[in-house]
Structures are given as structure tokens and as C-alpha cells.
Symmetry: D2
Subunit: 132 residues, 4 copies
């Protein structure tokens, strides 16, 4: 199961070299995770703001294979690789017309936003991850 | 004639106070101007990259009336107030469910990206502005 | 009394036109306000996080007069124009070797970060503003 | 040999959870690389803008071990792990009072900014890397 969204590369995503400034890929993928959590019917805002459950990144590995330029229409794709007791491992990709431009593996943990310590994945999120 | 686009307020748009970090409104409106130039059939990427015509801001005035929070669905609206020989004055607004959150007037000039000096508005852009 | 800080224009501040992406001026000035509140011995972090007093912008006017490029060393300057009961009006400038590149007037209000409503300027901040 | 710079965590670096939004670490490290290239007497601006040599990231691995909060004074550290014919592998760390908050390994390649293809590391940069 892969969750995807289209996105246009914006002027503000690009650097003086005219291509995506690489930290912007992580900003784009963060928005993709928000949309995915919404699509799981958990609600990203509700999770973070009301329930005070954080989803910080503890580890990531990324490969940048081809450049993306302003105006490019890209597809951002997310798949779940592994669900642990307190962590979710995602495989994320940015595709352009010419294939994969950037691929990353990202490990998120569920945390309490009061303590910033890891907590068990909430039951409803775990169920939604299983059901997808 | 008002050009509008919907946008969700992202985690990355917000600050430790939990509301939109105000410079992000300008980033959002920059994307709106890109979409508008595309909708005018001029092509923002083509204008900037191929024709080397810039659209920098020379003046702006902004009022921040109400806060926007993560997850809010807002409408960004753009209207042309005035077209000069080398400048375009825009009225921009961000609306939420409760009314206008932020309103600004922005004066853009057309420039040569070789010299960063103002140039006449290109004829096709002027015609498109008139036709809308 | 003018409060100043030097800053180098970074790669990440610049856009595909090779010059400062204008919302970045506001990010730079936000850091200047942080340093200024610290220099007033109020402590920006303490104000925002511990005392839950916000300093959102309610109005700004900005003129962009000359471009700043990557690697430019600029001076950011802040002066207080007016102190109201719940607002502070600042005059901010970014100077380069060739003079003023950007100037803005910004009205901040003191707010409760619980309600996002305006509150009286805290007494110690008011005293510090008077003393400077 | 380790190259270090101090940095204060800014309001604009932080997210609604009150901690550094993780892509901002990459923005901070990008500024560190700029300062390092300047310290090597190569000149980052000169390299990118005049000589049109890019330094894009092709691979990175990052661990996020502890949170950084607004107002924290952190030390950013850079060490060269390996110099290839067209690539430079860096070890980067962000330290706070309590130890390492974030560590990453980043592989940069030297590219032509005309073609975005990898090129040999320029001789003066290679000599400077050897001499340090």
C-alpha cells in the first residue's frame, strides 16, 4: 500500500542553483505524513495538538539521485516498512517524469509532547496502520 | 476578478506558539502568485527561468488580524489593484472560517534577472492582465 | 538608540534569482528582535516559553530598495519608534555596503499565548524599553 | 581536525512542539559548510556563483538523539571523513549542554552548475582539504 500526493516544486523550494534546496524535501515529506495521518482517519492536528502525541524523526537515510527544478510536477510516495511498539519506519520517494529523484527511509517514534519521551503507538493509530 | 486557491496550514508553517509564523504567509502568497501567473497562461517557470524576467517585491503593507493554526483550511485570494508600466499592485488575503486572517497589498516590479533592474511589463503579460 | 547585529546572507536565504527571497528578511529580523529582547535582559525564550507572552506582528510596511546576494555581509538595525499600552512599533533596516537594502516598520503586540489576545506590555519590558 | 561554530536555536527553527523542526538541522549544517569552505580560503560564494561549482548532497544518514529548544546555545561540528575523486564525506554533529543532539554523515559531490553532473574536486579545494 502506497500513499501518494502530487506537488509542484515552488520558487521558494529552490536555491541559487535553481534546484530544490535539499532540506525542502523533508518539509515536503512532512506534509505528506500529515496528509497520510489524516487519510488514516486519525487526524494529524488532533494527534499533535489535542492528544499531545508527537511524531519526531529519530533516524533517516536519504539518497538524492536527480535534481528537481522549479515548476516540476512531482509525486511524493509513502509506504510503511515496519511498525514497532513505539516506532514506525517509512519508505518515502519523490518521483519526477524521469524516475526517482530522492528516496529516504525515516524512522518516526511516537512521543509524549509533555516529556518528549517515546510512548507506545496509540491503539487507534496501530489499528489504522494494520488496516491499511 | 479574484484568483483563489485553498491551502491547509502545515506543521512546518507554524511556530512554537502553535500558529502560523508570519513570514510563512508571504511564502504561501508567493505560491499563489506562481499559480496565478500559470493560470494567465504566461507560465511562472518560463517567465523566471527561460525569459529571465523577475517579479521581485518592492513594497508591501500587511495586516495580521487573526491567527491561523495547524490544520486550518484557508483560502488565499489575489486581485489586481493597479497595473503600471513596470509594476503590478496586488491585493492579497488569507481567509479562514472566521473571516480575513491576513490582508496585504504588494507591489511587484518586472525586472531583468541579468541586471536586477526594472523593465517594462512584457507585452504578453500586460495583455493577459488586461484580459482577465 | 539603535540595536544592530551583523549577518551573512546564506545560500538558504536565496532564491533561484540568486538574491534574498524576500520572506527571509522577516526571518532575519525575527532573530534580531530575539537578540534585542535578550539584550534588554528580558530574555526572549523566558518571555515566550516560561511567561507565555507572545509578540506577534499585527502590522508591517516594508520597502525593498536593493538586492542582497549570497555571501553579502549585512547589518540589521532596530530602533523603537513608539511604545503603546499593548504595542511596540519598530523601525528595522537591512544595510549593505551600498546603503539600505530593505526597511520596514513593524507593529508588535504583546499577547497571552493562552488566548492569543492582546495584553498590557509587562512592567519589566516596559521599564526596559524606557531605560534603553 | 574539527571545524566548529556556535549557534543559538531561533524561534523560527522551532515547530509547534517547541523543539527544532528537524529539517532546520540541515539548514544549520548548510551554513556550517559555507563557513568551513570560507575558512578553507576557497570562498563559498566564489565557488558557487563565480566558478559555478555546486556541492549538492547525494547521500545522508542522520540520528536525532535529543531535542533542541528555542534559545539553546548549540555547537555545530564538522569533520572530513573521506575525500574521493568527486565526493567529500562529512561527519556533522550538533552538541548541546547535555551532549550530542543530532549526528549525521553527509556525502557531497562537486558538480558543474551548468550541467548538474559530477566533476572532479577542483585542485585548490582538494589541496585545502589535504592541508587542514
Amino acid at each position: 500500500m502506497t500513499f501518494t500526493r502530487e506537488r509542484v516544486i515552488r520558487f521558494s523550494d529552490c536555491d541559487p542553483a535553481g534546484i530544490v534546496f535539499y532540506p525542502q524535501y523533508f518539509v515536503m515529506f512532512n506534509a505528506l505524513v500529515e496528509d497520510w495521518i489524516d487519510a488514516l482517519d486519525i487526524g494529524y492536528r488532533k494527534l499533535i495538538i489535542e492528544r499531545r502525541v508527537g511524531l519526531p524523526t529519530v533516524h533517516l537515510k536519504a539518497d538524492f539521485r536527480a535534481v528537481s527544478r522549479m515548476g516540476d510536477r512531482v509525486t511524493l510516495a509513502l509506504a510503511v516498512e515496519r511498525v514497532g511498539s513505539r516506532s514506525i519506519t517509512l519508505a518515502l520517494q519523490c518521483h519526477g517524469a524521469d524516475g526517482v529523484r530522492m528516496a529516504m527511509q525515516q524512522v518516526l517514534v511516537t512521543t509524549s509532547l509533555e516529556t518528549h519521551h517515546a510512548i507506545e503507538i496509540p491503539a487507534d493509530l496501530r489499528a489504522a496502520l494494520r488496516a491499511q
